[in-house]
């Protein structure tokens, strides 16, 4: 199987770069144009998302929400942004100045770069050059997303560390622990998808899902990786119910307590950009991205509409989660990550891998998986009982 998968990797790629070396200037221009358009679309998307979140959550709380700036308050985010831009930019005395200034960009840049690999539509033709409607289609594809979301941890961590203040520090300690824990489960559920698609390229992952609902990886991978990815992604985003990093009630504002003015705005921009990116990645990995039935007129438009429609469902889900669920306790967060999500995603990955080879392997895998799960559950129970009896004897848990 391996050679096939490798050939698959090498064969495809953005048709923009297969035209030869004759027109590098035009190629470069198109790439720059795509980058600018992506950035603008993402910024407008963030403006919309902030407004959408505030509007939906106020609906769910019997309020009206922003309604003064522009029709239905849609320009509220713009007004807030302009206000933040003109606010005084405070720099704490005890802050590590250089790192303090760098941290917001370490948050923002990965958030933007991660979106680059998401295919938002089919193929379009600009000035006789065919190209994918996605900023970049690197062969490492989805690994790039994992790399970027890991770099984003540094933004949060360094922000808290450089603030020279206790609450931001506590917030960033939580952030790094949380993001590192959930990265593993996220990576393992992505691995299941990569296994099915036989490629890391997001474009290939989408292509593999075209042609019918049954081809979508959400069904082919058996729902479990989808739910694990959704939970892990929410934790990666630090969104409720996993917003321990910000936890207003305990940590003032968490890592961004000491930030003000435009640097604070950058953190928020990054947060909402990440929300959009993660929703887009879920759509790409599990719901076939822009694939869906189209019509003969405006053929380039239908994939984009499908993509936006699917994206919208997940954006709404994120807001809905925020409106409904209370924040997890720190130990619950760690329990869920290490004792539930990682074993489940690892076991499921093994079973899926077995199915790819021979069906009866999967049966063996399932039995082994159940056995491992039983042993793990037993080990956890013994651990709980031991610590409980230690407490009962008045001892100290190790």
């Amino acid at each position: 199987m391996m050679p096939v998968a490798l050939a698959h990797l090498v064969a495809v790629g953005d048709p923009l770069f297969s035209g030869g070396a004759g027109d590098t200037l035009a190629t470069l221009a198109i790439v720059v144009l795509k980058a600018v358009v992506t950035f603008v679309v993402l910024l407008v998307g963030v403006l919309f998302m902030v407004w959408f979140e505030r509007k939906v959550i106020s609906d769910m709380q019997n309020r009206i929400g922003p309604n003064r700036a522009g029709p239905f308050g849609i320009l509220q985010t713009l007004a807030d942004g302009i206000k933040l831009f003109f606010k005084e930019d405070l720099l704490p005395d005890r802050a590590d100045r250089r790192v303090f200034k760098l941290a917001p960009y370490l948050s923002l840049v990965p958030a933007f770069l991660a979106f680059a690999i998401v295919p938002v539509g089919g193929t379009i033709t600009i000035a006789h050059h065919k190209t994918f409607l996605q900023l970049a289609d690197p062969p490492i594809g989805i690994l790039f997303l994992l790399a970027m979301s890991s770099v984003a941890v540094y933004g949060v961590m360094l922000a808290g560390w450089a603030s020279g203040s206790k609450y931001p520090l506590l917030g960033s300690v939580r952030a790094s622990a949380q993001m590192v824990s959930y990265e593993a489960a996220m990576g393992l559920s992505v691995a299941t998808i990569v296994l099915l698609a036989g490629s890391l390229s997001t474009h290939d992952i989408v292509t593999a899902q075209s042609g019918g609902v049954t081809n979508l990886f959400i069904l082919k991978a058996g729902l479990i990786p989808f739910f694990i990815f959704m939970i892990a992604a929410t934790a990666e985003l630090n969104r409720p119910p996993f917003d321990l990093v910000e936890a207003e009630q305990e940590l003032v504002g968490g890592f961004h307590t000491e930030y003000s003015s435009i640097r604070f705005a950058l953190f928020f921009l990054a947060e909402f950009m990440n929300t959009i990116t993660m929703s887009a990645v879920v759509v790409t990995l599990f719901l076939g991205g822009p694939s869906g039935p189209g019509f003969h007129f405006l053929t380039w438009l239908w994939p984009i509409l499908w993509f936006v429609a699917k994206l919208f469902v997940f954006l709404f889900t994120y807001v809905w989660l925020r409106a409904t669920l209370p924040r997890l306790r720190y130990d619950q967060l760690m329990d869920l990550g290490w004792k539930v999500l990682i074993p489940a995603s690892l076991g499921w990955l093994l079973i899926m891998a077995a199915i790819q080879l021979e069906l009866w392997y999967a049966g063996v895998g399932l039995v082994l998986g159940l056995l491992a799960w039983a042993m793990l559950a037993r080990a956890m129970r013994v651990g709980r009982e031991r610590s409980a009896s230690t407490f009962a004897r008045g001892g100290v848990t190790p």
């Binding site: 609906d59 769910m60 309020r63």
Partner: protein
Amino acid sequence: MSFFKGFKVTAEQIGHVVTVQYPEHKRPKPERFHGRHVLNRYEDGMEKCIGCELCAGVCPARCIYVRGADNPEDAPVSPGERYGFVYEINYLRCIHCDLCVEACPTEAITESKLFEFSFTNRQDAIYTKSELVVADDGNPQQLPWEDWNETSRQDTSSWMRATSPSGSAAFEGTTQWSGELGYGVRPPEPPQVVARPKPLDSEAPAADPEGGDGH
């Protein structure tokens, strides 16, 4: 799956808006709303205040300043021996607890339903007698910085008339207040004459002759 019940609850809230657009749309104010004070007058135009300073004494915020004086023989201001010569309320201190209204022996001071007023300096926040006394039509003066609406303007003593006189339910429906300039003796407020809703605690005696539940 009680976990998903919460999602149903939040989703069902969409469309049920409780908030109103305040400056454009104002809710009717409650019957016994505590707003800024007025100094009432009798039907013949005499002031009700007798300058006894009970309101100033009871005020927990110490926002009332009263000085009484003997009525001039030729042109008495109030029917009694003395009248409120100086009457000032500092609205930067007032907490609208209505203890002054309860303390007043002549129903001279009551609270209107007005709360939408603002000042640009501390001196303006002190209302003097010339601003507090009702106008010749019996309604509170409409000062330029105050945002009155007509119905609340005509209803300045309902708090007093909505409670049982002397705190006793046996006096329900009886009129124990004096007439007001422009309105005469006002009827009791609806909550007094309309049948009361059943008490929440069903074991409590429904008909107490002495009205022991005057809490």
